[in-house]
Subunit: 361 residues, 2 copies
DNA sequence: TTGTAAGCGTTATCAA
DNA sequence: TTGATAACGCTTACAA
């Protein structure tokens, strides 16, 4: 390995001169600068970032904790975040939490060992994770993405409004009996979308006669199985107001699975039953029928999260000693620190999968 | 930050003792061991991996270069690789090359700076990338995934066989005129799948009367646009053997886009036109019609790639000095080093999207 | 069984 | 305008 010493020797200068040529932190005479640059080029020198990190106490890297990269929603978010971080000179350490809080704790510990400068955290299950709070207590800047956690900074979309727009649309079309297939019960995204849905239904045409709730994972299999289970329970065989005329899935993956199951039950979407998703991933525009969904501005969410995180990292680097900000407990009356929550707007995208309910049998 | 010195002081021992308690590299008397462990626990000590890496000359991390995480195929591969690496004690630095070879070069340089122990590389465009070869020359172990690059170790599936199975199936159904929508022209995956297709068609029922080829990106938009362009060119208006009765997409994303476009043209799949994909990502089973495709064993590919890479990393750590293995040029007759290529089998999954061709008009 | 000290590749503080 | 040199937190000879 070529080190700064080799370069110094080759250029006939001291290591500090080489270092300063690279950092530009002090003026260097043009001739020596050129000589150093030439030596660097010639030897193919590349500074060792581990060593840099050791002295600067910053690895210029971020930990990204994501539940499920096979879901294209998380995939595109991860992609956009990594790109934003790279643009700002940070690398991203990928961690697949897989909806497992023991894995999460494991990763968090590893990330702290690696001296990451901050954490981008997608909560997968009910929150908050103990290990995450410890990391926060240890002074590592964290930005929570997608889900809302009250006492942590976060970036997410207006899930309530998305649900509300769906509710209004369905109510206006005449749907009064719905099946809501949620993600994990209690997750803010699930609850907010559901509450929004209720509000929208009320606005659009009076309280629904029937709103059936199911919860589970944010996966296609959950949508698929839920529909089949409901069918076995006779939900779709019911007559009149009992029978759901629309299925509202808490995300696009669930909707995808539900669509398949509905078809297997010979229920045609949207003729026999409407269906909606949430997130607006690419395939929703491509499948048959194309899916009515709520579009998240994924790239904006991702870049906003990275921006917010870097902002906090850089703020911390300036006016804080690095021993983990222990809260001053002596002064109860101090101003509570403002926890920034960036909420981005969503867009309802109406496509083929919704229609008025079928005439009652 | 709490360091090994703090622990040593708290336990009343030297730093080397603490280090050895942690590494187990030399026997420690039980009482001191316990005292050290207790101090570690009490202080919440976490070894600094930057410092460890500096002395051990290994960061225990891998660079993962992937073209497009929004594609669920890459998403699930990335997920499986990260998990395999984590299981073996390695972290993964995520790099989104976005089909851009300048970005690739950029990332490669950063990864070398960060002292990654190895590289997991998904080529996105025509190969090989110059910067990658430089990295290889610099002695960094690389495993190429998904694509085949002759003089680099790699893990990929039997693309030829996959194409062949598709070809046989379609020929046996009676298709004699096909449209092949490829990915980037010249990529091994594309070429191999196409050559396999040709072979399979020949085996299944004589040479095809007509095989129309199009190339472009591995994206849904490419499939979508290609179909529309072909339609504008009158491809689907042709009569008799000229008109393609099946569309073979080089991957599932292309097929997804193609399916949408066919539907917009009022061509029903599979009644008017059959359609196949490649990769076997989750949504292929869910969409309507469900897609006939070639299933890759993604998890096996991913873990095999990680295994192969770690094997090479660990081999290098033992019997090689770390100055970049300069090939001994003096001996022309030396045995060429064996470049391992792990080829995994694929499975044809026949679903609704294929049928015999419609009767000729 | 344990401790001392050199060194990993940088940056930063002093002097010169 | 430059150069020594002490850190940074750790591992690992070498000594004791």
């Amino acid at each position: 390995m070529i080190t700064i010493k080799d370069v110094a020797r080759a250029a006939g200068v001291s290591v500090s001169t080489v270092s300063h040529v690279l950092s530009g932190r002090r003026p260097i005479s043009e001739p020596t600068r050129l000589r150093v640059l030439e030596a660097i080029e010639r030897l193919g020198y590349r500074p060792n970032r581990l060593a840099q990190g050791l002295v600067s106490k910053s690895s210029r890297s971020l930990g990204l904790l994501v539940p499920d990269l096979a879901n294209p929603f998380f995939g595109s978010m991860a992609e956009a975040m990594e790109i934003a971080a790279h643009d700002r000179g940070y690398s991203v350490i990928l961690c697949n939490t897989n909806l497992d809080s023991r894995r999460e704790a494991d990763y968090l510990s590893m990330l702290l060992s690696r001296q990451v400068d901050g954490l981008l955290y997608f909560p997968g299950t009910r929150v908050p994770n103990r290990a995450l709070l410890e990391a926060v207590a240890a002074g590592v800047p964290v930005v929570v993405v997608d889900e809302r956690i009250d006492n942590l900074p976060g970036v997410f979309v207006d899930n309530f409004d998305g649900g509300r727009q769906l509710g209004r649309l369905l109510a206006q079309l005449g749907h009064r009996s719905l099946l809501f297939i949620g993600g994990p019960e209690g997750l803010p995204t699930v609850t907010d979308r559901l509450n929004g849905l209720r509000a929208g239904l009320a606005e659009g045409g009076g309280a629904p006669a029937n709103l059936l709730l199911r919860f589970g994972e944010y996966r296609a299999s959950h949508g698929y199985e839920t529909i089949h289970i409901c069918a076995r329970e006779g939900v779709f065989a019911a007559v009149g107001e009992e029978r759901p005329t629309a299925v509202v899935a808490a995300n696009d993956m669930i909707a995808l699975g539900a669509l398949r199951a509905l078809r297997e039950l010979q229920l045609q979407v949207p003729r026999d039953c409407s269906l909606t998703g949430f997130d607006g991933v690419e395939f929703t525009a491509m499948i048959t029928p194309s899916l009515t969904t709520v579009q998240q501005p994924s790239t904006r969410v991702a870049t906003a999260a990275v921006e917010l995180l870097l902002q906090r990292i850089e703020a911390g680097e300036n006016h804080r000693d690095r021993a983990g900000q222990q809260q001053p407990h002596d002064d109860q009356a101090e101003v509570a620190p403002v926890i920034p929550h960036v909420v981005l707007p969503v867009t309802l995208v109406v496509r083929e999968s919704v229609a008025p309910p079928p005439p009652q049998r």
